[in-house]
């Protein structure tokens, strides 16, 4: 077992060769089908050769630093392509296949924004796209390479170290269609994050050998690191399922862990909820989750209730409560930021709700005044954390709520071709680069707690949505809707989407028709259920002096039934 030391950079090609030498014919990647049977497998030796062959071809076709879209179904081909980009120093831009009409626009915007030079894909997807005439004109100028059918003689075996400070990967953040933002992750960011994961994982279990199971989308940070990058660096098997197969029958995730003795598997909170809701006792028959030592829960708020119910319910099938591993992370810092000590039950703390509203972490004064929060542990590796006052930027002491700032080598270099946004969020100071996360939280007994989100972000089923994007879609649905006078926010747990839109006074008799049009137009753009849509009179929504909608006040007004829907 090869452990990577913190702060030590390594050449990607050397890792591949080392694993091929030491682990040879053992499985590096295994892809499972819908029956949770092995559909495809590749050994460490074969994987290294496949990567070197593709990297050789890429190096011949593209210049160092060129952006290449990675257009793949979930599987091993994606893993080869990603590693080939790393080895050859071409920038990987993972995207999902443009099969769904609703994601087409996003795909085009993204490929344009990334200023891609080429596309890596499979022959199958390429054939499908050739048939789709609407796609051709916009993608013709890109150079296409089918990574599963090309032939190369004498794959190059020797590769230089990457330029550790150069961009290795553009990680596009999920959800929002209007302005795709690509976090520039350097080789250094990726390797530093891997080192911090390694440090966290091994506390108290120094000899642990992992078997990774992941159904997470490979094009997103958590699936990319925990399913594609990290296993190979460790010399561990990575067992892959398709996200759709998981969503179709969540039991497949647990069955894969049981059948293939998975020890490390990550998912956002909603996935654990989905297991509770959609897996029957009968489906669990014969399954054993005893091998699952790190059930990492991250990328969206970790709910105390979910941890408890999941541990209680699945204990009958060998799940250990101490395997639950709540964590905090974000793509701007590669993926992983903080987490607890492995194999210790998650810590759920009770704070005063009244105190939290005043930005203070205090003990509750009575039983009504309680709010539970999950400890997200401490930072690992060289990552540093500060809680700052959102107005004065002063660093706050323990127990005070403020905005979370991060520093350290896992940080990205900024957003691709977004200098203003990059400067605003990635702040260069005398004390190095600091990231403004947009999350609100506090430190308590050296552990991190998240108490809210700063940016009014809406998170549904693990996807982040920017309210302004959703508001824009609504107001475009009908000419009688007032521009800039609509609001989107979420309420409850799990979050539900609420839309409130002002209409012009003259249109009140056609309101039902307008509602139908809004919902139809919205559904064309977003895969997102609308829990409630209200049409209100002009001037009802609270605005700032500069005319911006006050979303938080809107939410508060909505929950107190202060809006009068014109239609009802």
């Amino acid at each position: 077992m090869n452990q990577i030391h913190a702060s030590e950079n390594f050449a990607w090609a050397e890792i591949l060769k080392q694993q091929a030498r030491q682990l040879g014919q053992q499985d590096a990647f295994v892809l499972l089908n819908r029956r949770v049977h092995i559909a495809e497998r590749l050994s460490f030796a074969a994987f290294a050769q496949a990567v070197f062959a593709l990297a050789t071809q890429i190096a011949a076709d593209f210049q160092p630093g060129d952006r290449l879209l990675l257009l793949y179904e979930p599987g091993i081909d994606f893993c080869i392509a990603l590693w080939a980009c790393l080895v050859s120093g071409r920038v990987a831009v993972p995207v999902y296949p443009p099969g769904d009409p609703r994601t087409r626009e996003r795909f085009f915007k993204l490929s344009k924004a990334a200023e891609a030079s080429g596309v890596l894909t499979t022959q199958k997807i390429r054939d499908q796209i050739r048939l789709a005439r609407w796609l051709l004109p916009r993608l013709m100028r890109l150079k296409w390479l089918s990574s599963d059918t090309f032939k190369t003689n004498n794959p190059q075996q020797e590769w230089p170290h990457p330029d550790y400070d150069q961009v290795a990967l553009l990680q596009y953040t999920s959800g929002s269609t209007s302005e795709p933002k690509g976090v520039m992750l350097s080789h250094q960011s990726l390797q530093a994050n891997i080192a911090s994961l390694t440090q966290a994982r091994l506390i108290g279990r120094e000899q642990a050998q992992e078997r990774f199971v992941s159904w997470l989308p490979q094009y997103h940070d958590m699936g990319l690191v925990s399913g594609v990058l990290y296993p190979l660096v460790l010399g561990s098997i990575s067992i892959i399922l398709s996200p759709l197969d998981f969503l179709q029958k969540p039991v497949r995730w647990l069955q894969a862990i049981s059948d293939y003795q998975g020890s490390l598997s990550c998912a956002p909170n909603f996935a654990y909820e989905l297991c509770l809701k959609r897996i029957s006792d009968q489906q669990m028959q014969g399954l054993d989750l005893n091998s699952w030592k790190l059930a990492l829960n991250g990328a969206e708020p970790v709910r105390p209730d979910t941890l408890r119910r999941f541990s209680e319910r699945f204990a009958a099938w060998g799940f250990q409560p101490e395997s639950m591993y709540p964590s905090y992370g974000l793509a701007e810092s590669t993926v992983f930021v903080s987490g607890g000590v492995p194999q210790q039950a998650p810590e759920i703390r009770v704070f005063s709700q009244a105190g939290l509203l005043q930005n203070l972490a205090l003990a509750p004064t009575n039983v009504q005044d309680q709010r539970e929060l999950v400890s997200l542990g401490r930072c690992w590796g060289q990552t540093r954390i500060e809680i700052r006052d959102p107005q004065s930027q002063q660093v706050l002491p323990e127990g005070q709520i403020g905005e979370i700032y991060l520093s350290g080598p896992s940080l990205g270099l900024g957003y691709w071709r977004e200098p203003e946004l990059s400067q605003a969020r990635f702040q260069q100071t005398e004390d190095g680069l600091w990231l403004q996360t947009g999350d609100l939280g506090f430190l308590f007994e050296q552990s991190l707690f998240i108490s809210g989100r700063h940016k009014d972000l809406i998170i549904i089923n693990g996807e982040n949505y920017s309210p302004s994007d959703l508001e824009q879609t609504v107001e475009q649905a009908h000419p009688d809707l007032r521009r800039g006078c609509g609001v989107a926010f979420s309420i409850g747990e799990p979050e539900k989407l609420i839309l409130v839109q002002e209409v012009r006074a003259s249109t009140e008799d056609a309101l039902s028709e307008i509602k139908v049009q809004i919902l139809a137009h919205f559904a064309q753009h977003w895969h997102l259920p609308v829990a409630d849509l209200l049409l209100v009179k002009a001037g009802v929504l609270p605005k700032t002096s500069s005319g911006k909608i006050q979303r938080r006040r809107c939410r508060a007004m909505y929950t107190k039934n202060k809006f009068k829907d014109l239609k009802s």
């Binding site: 099969g99 959609r278 549904i460 089923n461």
Partner: protein, 77 residues
């Protein structure tokens, strides 16, 4: 199963997911417009697999995006 049977089953299933009365579920309306998110639409195909005892593509409810279209397709298949 006949199309009518599948359609009725789907109406019940969607009503349950959305916490609404079955008579308020319009089988002609697209799933998204009924209020189903993409995850729920995929989950529906999983439950249909159990009902019909056959493997179904997770994306089926996107290709046949209403209760009527989906039940029609499944009855013919």
């Amino acid at each position: 199963m006949t199309q009518k049977e599948i359609e009725n089953w789907l109406i019940q299933a969607v009503a349950q997911i959305l916490d609404r009365q079955p008579e308020n579920i319009d089988p002609l309306l697209p799933f998204a417009q009924l209020g189903l998110d993409s995850g729920e639409a995929v989950a529906l195909t999983g439950d249909l697999e159990d009902l019909l005892e056959q493997e179904l593509e997770p994306t089926l409810a996107f290709e046949y995006p209403s209760i009527q279209k989906l039940s029609q397709h499944l009855a013919q298949a």
